[in-house]
């Protein structure tokens, strides 16, 4: 039977929702499920991990060098602990995509990237060519399965569990060649794009940074996260970290509303797992309407106030 180690993602004080999604994938894989928390102070995060349903055990390690998630610092410890497991899973966020290949290389194996479905204990489906093809990938019996979990494909498990937490000391040597300097976050008080149930996005059709405000206003009325197309980011209307698409964030909210977004393939790649896609565009021929569940041809500057009035 498989024994699966999940590498927790967190911001230093709180466990990320992405870890609960990895647990879903681990349950589907089958076997015992352990979570490894590496943090400057792992106590609270480990408790949050232990509360996730389906988790059998949480291992926590405190070390001042773990205060920022540097792959080069974390990977040796994860590889040392992971060597005793059949599977090592991490989220396919920038955190996991940075870290897990380094772990895989230390364990001498290739990594399975972006698991979207489990076909067997060592056999998975993942997207290639920007999601234009889905491949079946399997890992040989003698190799550790090191993988990242495609977050848009998995639901978070619920809480209420009370798994055992055990603390350990670090065992692997840590390099000193990589140092954290700072993190600049943007976006303010709006819900996080990747975990928001509703997301409102704007595209080039907004026309300016100033005009983009109506998207924020509607989003705050709906309690929604705010995203943007690459065109809107490139035009400077909004910062980079709001970009939704193949080269930005891949999201799966229950409701996605696209205003003034034409629907380039690279944008569609980022939203095709959304529950319901709504498109508002004045061009009836815009490709976004091909994937929209509900479409409305109209000028967003008059439609948005009308939506707000009808709420």
């Amino acid at each position: 039977m498989s024994n699966i180690l999940i590498i927790a993602e967190h911001n230093g004080s709180e466990l990320s929702n992405s870890t609960a999604k990895c647990v879903s994938c681990a349950i589907e894989t089958g076997g015992s499920v352990h979570i490894l928390v590496l943090a400057a102070d792992a106590t609270v995060i480990a408790e949050q991990a232990a509360a996730l349903n389906g988790v059998d055990e949480v291992i926590s390690i405190n070390h001042p060098n773990y205060s920022h998630a540097l792959a080069a610092t974390l990977a040796p410890e994860i590889a040392a602990i992971g060597a005793d497991y059949s599977h090592v899973y991490g989220p396919s966020s920038t955190y996991g995509r940075d870290l897990m290949p380094r772990v895989a290389a230390l364990l001498g194996v290739n990594q399975v990237a972006d698991i979207m479905a489990v076909k067997g204990p060592r056999s998975f489906q993942r997207p290639v060519y920007a999601g234009n093809a889905i491949i079946d990938v399997s890992v040989a019996e003698e190799n550790t399965v090191v993988a990242t979990i495609r977050l848009a494909s998995w639901a978070a498990v619920s809480g209420g569990n009370n798994a055992t937490v055990s603390s350990r000391e670090t065992s692997a040597e840590m390099p000193t060649h990589s140092r954290f300097i700072g993190l600049k976050t943007e976006g303010g008080d709006l819900p996080d794009l990747q975990s928001a149930k509703r997301v409102i996005s704007g595209g080039r059709g907004l026309g300016s940074e100033e005009n983009f405000k109506i998207i924020y206003t509607l989003a705050s009325k709906l309690g929604a996260g705010v995203g943007a197309s690459r065109a809107a980011v490139d035009a400077g209307y909004v910062p980079n970290d709001m970009q939704v698409g193949q080269t930005g964030k891949i999201i799966s909210p229950d409701l996605y509303m696209a205003f003034g977004i034409s629907g380039a393939i690279q944008h569609i790649t980022g939203i095709k797992d959304a529950g319901t896609i709504v498109a508002i565009n004045k061009d009836a021929e815009a490709p976004i309407f091909e994937v929209a569940d509900i479409g409305l041809v109209g000028d967003l500057f008059s439609v948005i106030p009308e939506i707000e009035a009808a709420l």
Binding site: A72, S93, D98, P101, V109, N110, V128, A133, H177, V278
Partner: protein
Amino acid sequence: MKILVGIKRVVDFNVRVRVKPDGSGVDLDGAKMSINPFDEIALEEALRLREAGKATEVIVVSIGTTACQQQLRTGLAMGADRAIQVDTEEKLQPLAAARTFLALVEKEQPGLVILGKQAIDDDNSQTGQMLAALWDRPQATFASEVVVDDQVARVTREVDAGLETIEIDLPAVITSDLRLNEPRFVKLPDIMKAKRKPLEVIPLTDLAIANDNKLTIDHYAPPATREKGIMVDSAEALVAELKNRGLL
């Protein structure tokens, strides 16, 4: 300081890729092939570092058949000083690709290796991180800004939470994100000049790397399609429909 840049020959990003009906792969017959876009950005960054006096030589490397010499020549036309083709018929998986780069790193002793953050064919995003691990050196992935100062690089990375800045000792591996720079266009005289630049062919077998622990890839399928949606004719109708579906 030398900079080693990896460039992968991939289907052009404008080509709409389709799965073959028998599920054996994707249909790339006659499709336009290009330098992986992220690798082109990696090369541009290396050239800028050389032009700023931070590096002395830029070497482009590609692993594949003779066909990838076309992309290496484009790299030379962009301004790389010389090229290495590691010759193999096999499409290497990331671990073997990283081991191949490590063998070249040991031979060339570069101060920096810059790779694209991912290739747009297999979307793996692994080779750079694996090379850094095997080399036991720092990695700065998804870079949107690189400042090299003597033996240290300060790199801004595009992470989910925003922009993270880290400092790494050289030698190191950097992988490029989309906004790092805009690659230059190649001019005709540069294409002529590139023909005279050195392009070395090294058989993969000469590097004696281990090519084991491969993943088995045995079936390609087209992605699931969404069902056709409906059109509404007013904002009121839209809100009513969303309420009806329990979404508002």
